[in-house]
């Protein structure tokens, strides 16, 4: 009985705080994407012919985001029936966009205008009971071009 109560409390807490955190995070991501709109990202490794010769630097951004309790249970239920696992979709989307934003932020600090050869790498960091993914790490890196003035 006590176990059931703990389980339900965790479920409710996870649902409330998880939803709040996700909404807040998406809002800040959208705001910052507008802010760093002027830095362009490409995944080509050949540079266009520039008239001024730019300087180059490696920039990177990483983030570790954890899933909440409610979503983990929901994803577990999804594993029985199959189909889209929306809980993880939103988690990984948030992580990717955040990592790219952090990379752009670093590029802006260096005065870069564009980022080439952007690579994204995903790794699951924390595995709970039953090898369920608890948190995911996304690492984004690329080469920024800094025009010398």
């Amino acid at each position: 009985m006590a176990n059931l109560i703990i389980f339900l409390v965790l479920l409710v807490l996870g649902y409330i705080f998880g939803q709040m955190a996700e909404r807040r995070h998406f809002k800040s991501i959208i705001d910052r994407e507008q802010q760093y709109k002027h830095i362009l990202c490409f995944n080509e490794h050949t540079l266009p012919v520039h008239t001024p010769i730019p300087e180059v630097a490696l920039v990177a951004g990483n983030v570790v985001i954890s899933i909440d309790y409610f979503k983990r249970i929901a994803a577990g239920l999804n594993n029985i029936f199959g189909g889209r696992v929306r809980a993880y979709e939103s988690l990984i989307e948030r992580a990717r966009r955040e990592a790219i934003l952090r990379m752009k932020q670093e590029a802006e600090q260096l005065g870069g205008q564009a980022i080439f050869n952007v690579k994204l790498e995903t790794a699951s960091i924390y595995k709970g009971r039953g090898q369920q993914i608890g948190s995911v790490e996304v690492y984004a890196y690329g080469t920024t071009l800094i025009n010398k003035v």
Partner: protein
């Protein structure tokens, strides 16, 4: 008497000389630190470096580090697994670990006389539960 006077007059000149040299020494130290900052290795993950040509390829250089989770951080991560959200401790830990692996790669490149590392790639693998290996590798080259 005369000798004493000479001695007295000499004493402040020695001090003066020291004080005169002090800013010069400072300047030398400052220039030295600038020199170390200037001699850095360019790191990119594209195949070329614009405006420069590759004179010589020196082969692959690599750097790695294996990091384990901190107990305190692990407990915090446990809490965060209920509420969701970013695990700032882990983000910092992994970022530091990557910088470490890049530093080791750069050190290796410097040791073989390269002045740039191109085509850098990162890779992560979990060795055991609770420890991750972060690996950076690239091609060391000499630019003209």
């Amino acid at each position: 008497m005369q000798q004493e006077r000479l001695f007295e007059s000499k004493k402040p000149t020695v001090e003066k000389a020291i004080w005169l040299h002090f800013p010069i020494i400072c300047l030398i130290l400052f220039l030295n630190s600038l020199w170390f900052e200037v001699s850095y290795v360019i790191i990119t993950n594209i195949e070329i470096i614009p405006g420069k040509t590759v004179v010589k390829h020196l082969g692959m250089v690599q750097g790695n580090t294996v990091r384990a989770k901190h107990v305190g951080r692990d407990i915090m991560a446990g809490f965060k697994n209920i509420f969701g959200g970013e695990l700032k401790g882990y983000t910092e830990l992994l970022q530091e670990a990557r910088e470490e692996s890049v530093a080791r790669m750069t050190q290796q490149a410097e040791a073989i006389g390269a002045n740039a590392v191109i085509n850098v790639r990162f890779s992560t693998s979990s060795i055991t539960a609770g420890a991750a290996e972060l690996f950076a590798y690239g091609t060391a080259v000499i630019l003209e």
